[in-house]
Subunit: 487 residues, 2 copies
């Protein structure tokens, strides 16, 4: 639909190049039009497209009750209101930068330390990612991105900067691990196409895979960017979601172990996933390059963190006892929720890529595809959204090169909602696998049917089981589509 | 000084084109290196370069004490914490948009109303201004800017967008009012230089003039942009600082009175000045153009307002009784402070442009220039910063075309600090006017000496008078230069 007022705008505003016309965002629309609620709308769409960490809020709420002085909007803290509300220094509150630097070290098990002077604020990871692109690359330059990758990179990294994203294909054959050959190939292809490659961005832990990068691969990759003299941006926003071994290896550790030009190394961080605070818009750029720190700080003016929020977080993250407890309990809860979900899927024969981090799993629905194409994937996705009423995200929106993979989020719901979701999946799989088998029989191409096993009790995931309300009365009303800033 | 790591960065990061190498920002550096404090550093630099509204915080603090449920970080409000901390819908909290729309109408005396659906969030006015440029103009396009204008427009509007700012010269002869002829001239010059003019941006109330635009000029201007089919961006971030008549006329009223293409009309708003909350980073884009609203909302992902802050402000701005009281008391306090300061200046013969708004005055120091050039202005400024120890901002940094004007902020200090500042000015004027007169006599060019009168009691502004501490113990330590996001 053509909106009124299209004439005489910028090319950006006149085109649809914003990266939000992806199935990834489409799924949210479906959810928003018919959101599940255990009592008010039990047949509605369950949101499994949103990588939110909702499992450990009780710990934060308890902390708040015990620390009213941490807010400038309490009788106990209001004497700081004036100075904090006036504080617009783009360096950020010193106590905020100190606390974030310490927290980043803590999340990485104390194996790396971070200098508060290098902490630059940005408007969420979204703002941080774009800001780094503005610092590192010019319009038309290329950035390598191993895929499957985060769908909104198209918006965050590319839209306003004009940087080209060059996907590096990762394959299911080796569990989507990055290889030297694929990097070299992508680099060489860019060279042939006359695109100047300025860097490589990786997400570690990976979104959508939920895996962490092993040390050998990481060292290969750092050597690669160092040899090519291109930048490495490490998106480490899921650092604290690692819920079991192998532990996270951050780039900050790698550069202590092998020689490389540190001016090429940059980290994107955020508290949206690790603390479950996406609304607070805490994005961090941490660069080892002085010039980038200086430029990024000037650019941070376009997306500073509210000083009210800085002040609150400075207090909370400075409480080392709380941080320790939060990190360990959160990891434990994620592990439990992950295991509950993947075991439920296993019981109906659905496999996921083995993972140790993230708020989602990378689900393999290749056996359910009527044909092994992206059209087949989209057909399946439409059924899952429309009939099964689960908003999961298709692999194509993550630029996955193989059809049939889906990202499914598990940490934004309570156990009862998860059980309902699993119940729906079970019913669907029974019905769908029968159909697929039939289709495949008809096509006499039954070689790929994986023999889905359906062994669990149908009672277990009955949707009618009573459950507490998932949404509190304070839940904001769902809004129209394409809404969330980052997931 | 060349920073480490300069190679292989973007053109933006490699150049010094960020617009912060202006005397405007330089002055802050001087303040930060030696900040005045009545007891700890009574000889330090007094900050008069910062357009902060610090006069009415007591009202907000009282409101906070009475409304603990307005914060998600109080025992009374914490039950909303989870949902608000998770809220990342880029439309913003509905109650926040409603409250801001209503507040904008209230600030404009109820003579215009605003549609919450058109309220788009951005990272302060800084983020809002840049965001609009990204929507309206391409790299290389031109935007007309009447000058003197806000110094950081160079950063906000131009730096990352690549838009060219085309200054429209306003002159002291008619109190710096914008004329049709100057607009036509600037437009014609751009045409000759093959620059595509995409719009005009005005600040109303003006920064640095502290004046509001009269209706006749405003109508001329809207007719001008409508005839040329170019955009009009109205920066109305000082709307509520109008402390006496003539009242503010917003563009939202003008377009009710004359015919124009509303798709060309856009407003930048903020709570940094009107509520004195720059740390909260509340920037608003309000556009009458559907397509711009849609595009701006997508771009707002790069600088959303913390949901913690949205929630708090939604509560406070929804309290109509509080808003009414705040607006009237704040205007009264600004009027008093303005009058105290300008009367003090008058007593030593210093005149300011007559003004009815803003947190500053536009001070005419032409009589004190040793020569009527920008070098002369800079010499005078260095003395004021270095010897008089006042951080005021020279006209050249506002792209003023006539030397000798300075912007001086008066609302970021208490009365005692202001008295000290006036005392320093008095001493300086006595000494300087003697010197200027001598220089001018020597040069036999005494025709421009304005005969400064020095009639007030020297006791009145004695620096040694006791005063309460200006900074509370919670004042964040001053940071290194170029710090504030917007002023």
């Amino acid at each position: 639909m053509e909106l009124k007022g299209s004439s005489n705008l910028s090319t950006l505003a006149s085109s649809n190049d914003h990266g939000e016309n992806s199935l990834y965002f489409e799924g949210w629309k479906a959810y928003d039009n018919d959101p599940f609620h255990p009592s008010r709308n039990p047949k509605g769409v369950i949101q499994m497209g949103l990588a939110e960490n909702q499992l450990s809020f009780e710990l934060i709420e308890d902390w708040i009750k015990k620390n009213p002085q941490a807010s400038i909007c309490t009788p106990e803290g209001v004497q700081a209101f004036k100075d904090i509300a006036n504080f617009q220094d783009y360096h950020g509150l010193p106590q905020f930068r100190n606390a974030v630097a310490k927290f980043m070290g803590r999340v990485r098990g104390g194996r790396a330390s971070f200098d508060p002077e290098r902490i630059v604020m940005a408007g969420g990871a979204t703002g941080a990612s774009e800001l780094l692109m503005f610092c590192l690359a010019d319009r038309g330059d290329g950035f390598l991105v191993p895929s499957p990758c985060y769908p909104a990179f198209d918006r965050d990294l590319r839209w306003r900067t004009g940087v080209q994203l060059l996907h590096v294909e990762c394959k299911s054959g080796n569990n989507f691990q990055l290889t030297k050959q694929s990097l070299e190939d992508a680099y060489e292809n860019a060279r042939k196409a006359n695109i100047k490659v300025k860097g490589l961005i990786i997400a570690n832990p990976s979104n959508p895979l939920g895996t962490t990068m092993d040390k050998a691969t990481f060292k290969m990759l750092v050597k690669f960017i160092n040899d090519k003299k291109i930048h490495l941006v490490c998106d480490e926003i899921y650092s604290a979601t690692v819920f079991r071994g192998p532990r996270l290896v951050s780039v900050s550790e790698i550069i202590e172990e092998i020689e490389c030009d540190r001016d090429l190394i940059h980290i994107v961080y955020s508290l949206s996933k690790d603390m479950g605070l996406p609304g607070f818009r805490v994005g961090i750029v941490y660069s080892y390059n002085d010039k980038v720190v200086s430029c990024a700080r000037k650019m941070s003016s376009f997306g500073l963190i509210s000083s009210q929020t800085q002040y609150f977080l400075a207090s909370m993250l400075s409480d080392e006892e709380f941080v320790g407890k939060y990190l360990s309990e959160s990891a434990m809860k994620l592990a439990n929720q992950h295991d509950l979900f993947t075991r439920g899927l296993e019981e109906v024969g659905i496999k996921c890529l083995e993972s140790n981090a993230g708020l989602y799993v990378w689900m393999d629905l290749r056996p359910l595809l009527k044909e092994a194409t992206f059209e087949g994937e989209m057909d399946l996705w439409r059924v899952i959204i429309g009939d099964v009423k689960l908003n999961v995200s298709p692999g194509s929106s993550f630029h996955c090169h193989e059809p049939g993979w889906f990202r499914v989020c598990f940490a934004n719901m309570d156990i009862n909602t998860m059980r309902i979701a699993l119940g729906r999946i079970r019913k669907f799989v029974v019905q769908e696998s029968d159909q697929v088998l039939q289709v495949k029989k008809q096509k006499r191409t039954s070689k790929r049917s994986h023999g889905l096993t359906l062994s669990f009790s149908s009672q277990m995931y009955d949707e009618t089981c009573s459950s507490p309300r998932m949404l509190s009365p304070h839940t904001p009303l769902p809004q129209s589509p394409l809404l969330r800033a980052r997931t």
